[in-house]
Subunit: 363 residues, 4 copies
């Protein structure tokens, strides 16, 4: 029962790579929010396969249908159900995988846990599952924007060893979307695209790091001690396919500094607001947002499914080799950007409602 | 309401640094488990302040009392309540902090969120809160040991730039406990102790990395898509005070490899079990344990509270400086080791019960 | 966010009376359960409108589609999504209700809570929402049957003042389904049908009592102190539309007895099993099933929407009258029977998994 | 793990009848609420044993200690822990019950579920567990009073066949507390007291009905479809020891009316507010509060533990008889009144916060 996320703004996703479709139920959405399928489609299009030469060629329009919860263009406060039908399912590509476990993929563990799996396209473990997250994230973003003008911008920070130079405090969605790899350092972006393209031709895959910033987040979000904001953000992005690491603010590098070097000293800005001079905390202190920009980084491993031949075993416990057919991303990073943004938006929106629930009632 | 953790094996902690005490309620514990306060005390002693020259000199015996849920030495299946009274509370040390916000601490954000805070010793944001986690973790460890012989060993991997060489596949609790910094690389441990001691004398602080391994974890734990095992582990440790980053298996470094280099090829071991040649996955694939060793790393920043003078502001919005009094750890890492172990144990135990609940019923 | 029910076997429903459709996501279902749409359809057909002359004439085939979670006829352990499209939606019948609040219906309270509502056919407050519950209940029933041979039989006990004589210990589904009012006392059933028919012609409505028995429920289900089995059953059925009361075992009448009259004395049956001579407890003691038949009763009020003219007010706060058009049930009881069964099944199935999770792991 | 109740205002209780103590953790309490142990003690004193000649003579002062979450007289927003130590535990009274199962008590089912039980005084199944609920309820009441002037008044409506005449719209706490049976119909109260006293002398027990009214509840509380306000109220009170039935508004008797008789017609009051002429709905329509008085009734069976000899079986599966020693209530009703009030307060407070969380954020 691990398919529900969030406490007050709560989503439940469903669906496998092949079959009837994938989607999401959003429960707890504030009523009277104006929302259209077009707004949701914008982020779905950023996520969908076949969007560029460096993503999987699988063709899915990923057109979403709102089944419930919206009436005359506004949310009702009741569950919003969104469905995306599966279309371009070439199941025959997966016949071999019905028997052979792909190394470092979910095939073997799903089989071990459930004693059964939908081996077509990875079934539930397919990145296709994230459609529901991205659709729900689009709604969360709109609420955050409307209530507090929150901006969430994700981008590719690094592909393998190619790292862009990007200022999280000023980067814009337009800059991110200006190229197909979604790295706003346009010079480095070209090198990244070349590397991904070369890797694709090599039948191999690569990984990298997505960075995401949330600006204008109100102070006070996050609930110690277990639902600290960074803890919920970590869980959110570590539940994405292929993620292997999470950092907030100074992250692992911050451990090389002393406290006097690392601490963010306070000052009063021109409006008399308490601010920090530096932002090594990454916008969260003691598990609660402090009004500075929230900055996180997520490590994505190289895609597990590759065309190169690898040693593996079969369902029937025989050793063999596998050179995967099917259509796969040589690098998940460009499509992971809207996924990370969605997960950040879902966490912030949930905590915005929770904050209002607990701390707003005695005002 | 962020003070409850877990779905089936569920803990709720309470308490502030100063006041009546701190503790935990454990709900959902399997019945008839033999457990004593002595077993719980073992891990509490590894966590408690004043245990060595490199930890805070605050003196707390941290003796736990089981209030309920255990009868004639065995768990009843009903809630286990554990209480530790506060003793050595020198509130006067904190008078200054009732007005001045410590940089990079939780003072300002608690004030922003709740409009009130217990400023004595950090109140709820104190690491003292983790007593409840460690006590509950001791019980979780015992269940895991009894059901599946699971071993959980945490240790200090790095202090600032001093990194130990440790084999997670063989490291033992005895090796970890052989020195006060809890780094099983004994040569490096001495250097670490010297560095912490020097930092303490400098009125400054340092951070580092804790690594933790869980061995003999049964296959099948973890619930995609949101409660993937690595996602719940990430949330668990990122909810600990001072944590800034999380990695599993190859982590951030894994992003520098290609898929063909990174993937863990499968083979059959002598017992016909499906195993992986390498373990870059860190024991989890597709969000589900695969039977290999689970290996995670957690970055802890340098302690925020330091004796050196820093710029800050007051509750009344005046700029000032603060040189913190009180008794604080120059480095949280040695005491963070049992905390990380506890959080890992809580996640694994919860998922063990959940696995049994969903997948065991039709057997 | 009140649209999710259950802890381990967890359902989330969505959909309004008019619009894209209604449905359910079932999360946590045990894997490898054989299930077909036909099995689910059986209970949906018992619930659907237009099934007889004493139900609403609205025509909905209510054909269900399994969107995910089932592969080659077996559950995958991943979320099962079931969708039923809306068809016969005559929205024009509801034009008047877009302005006028139906007395004792949900119109005014939805408007008060959300500031918006889908006034077509009651929107989310329509009994049409229960399709998702009944579909999920069909799966829960099958699990209970397969694991422990549990039988759940609901039936109409009373319509207005017409009460049937039925033995809960022996009543069968076939007896219940032998007439359109679902009262196994066939003689009384005819009188009930006549009364409902007369009430329909009078443009009025009536209510009554549904009784439900669960036989062969394993001992040990239910989790004190808040999730006692009777507490979860009460919540389950009190969340059904039009329910006004709940009883277990002796219920309200039991309060007229003394303890010595009311207590269920124990004895040992021929197999040496601990049994009770009487069953005033209704199969649950101390919140935990005791192996005897679980027997509950649910009071359903007369349908709120009636053709007779009534005083009411409008959205714009003007006093007026309303004689409801549209197609409505003169009595919800016959269709409520599968709803009550479904809710009982969902509670028992959830607690079966929870019991296995907590108490099965140390076996 | 059934010992936590509520979503945003969430309580977790712990403790057995004998042992270290009983208590509660309240998580999610709004910050800056003024609260004292004296205010909590008021309701605890209404619940405690030995308060009058018609309750159990067990002597427990039930003095509560706030361990955390309150600072300088105000709530911190962090978990509030409240502990009541056990004192007058005469375990020897229960020696016989370590082997013999009390009919209609929880002894046998706890043993069946957990394979172990604390047989002293009923352990966790003791009504002593409700101390935590009543303490938390006192805080919930204060929040409701402060935010919306909500009044919650419970009282004994009926003892066995002795029914009082009480107007829920005007009854006051003072009237309820004017006699030891807590029935505001003072004439009937005397008869009730005599009947309970006689029953006590007969070594027997009796039950009855508690009615509870909540006045000035804001419109909009309750979350369809599963967390309807009446569904959560039903669960809340059906989780109390000895409860066998629940009604809201017209309840079971309402099923004897036609829709045109039962419906609550709307009108506009002098302030232009939408009101209902009658209140058969009991203050809730469609699962959401409508601003009218919420009125519920709870059936409590006669106390299971009686001095009269009864047939039973032993842990070792031998048939025997039991005439219970120990000190028990001949009738739980007088002490159940504050318990019912507490559960109603907890539900309303939770839904008040939830309402604010979902529906307040876009205001």
């Amino acid at each position: 029962m691990g398919n529900t996320f969030g406490q007050l703004f709560r989503i439940t996703t469903f669906g496998e790579s092949h079959g009837g479709g994938v989607g999401v139920i959003i429960d707890g959405c504030p009523p009277r929010l104006e929302i259209t399928e077009t707004e949701i489609q914008f982020d779905l299009d950023r996520r969908r396969p076949g969007q560029s030469k460096i993503t999987t060629p699988r063709r899915e329009a990923d057109i979403c249908e709102i089944l419930s919860g919206v009436f005359e263009g506004k949310t009702l406060g009741t569950p919003i159900a969104i469905l995306v039908r599966n279309q371009d399912a070439r199941s025959q590509d997966y016949d071999e995988m019905s028997l052979k476990f792909r190394p470092s993929h979910a095939d073997a563990t799903y089989e071990a846990k459930y004693g059964i799996r939908n081996w077509q396209g990875g079934g539930r473990s397919s990145a296709r599952e994230t459609i529901g997250r991205v659709a729900a994230g689009a709604i969360a973003k709109k609420i955050l924007k409307q209530v507090a003008n929150v901006e969430i911008v994700g981008y590719v920070k690094r592909i393998k060893n190619l790292e862009g130079v990007i200022d999280p405090n000023t980067v814009t969605l337009e800059q991110v979307e200006s190229n197909i790899v979604r790295c706003p350092d346009t010079e480095m972006a070209e090198k990244m695209i070349d590397l991904i393209d070369q890797t694709r031709r090599d039948q191999d895959s690569i990984g990298g790091v997505v960075e995401c910033v949330a600006r204008y987040v109100p102070k006070g979000l996050g609930e110690p001690v277990f639902d600290k904001l960074e803890a919920d953000l970590a869980k959110a992005v570590m539940s994405l396919p292929a993620s292997k690491g999470f950092e907030i603010g100074s992250g692992f590098d911050g451990t090389l500094l002393t406290g006097s070097e690392h601490n963010d000293e306070f000052y009063l800005d021109d409006n008399g607001e308490i601010r920090t001079v530096t932002n090594r905390s990454g916008g969260i202190q003691g598990g609660i947002s402090n009004g500075e920009n929230i900055i996180i980084r997520v490590a994505f491993k190289p895609t597990a499914t590759i065309g190169k031949e690898q040693k593996t075993v079969t369902l029937n416990k025989e050793e063999t080799t596998l050179a995967a057919k099917g259509r796969h991303d040589p690098c998940v990073l460009p499509r992971a950007v809207p996924m990370v943004e969605a997960m950040v938006a879902l966490v912030l929106c949930d905590h915005l409602l929770r904050f209002r629930g607990q701390c707003g009632v005695l005002e």
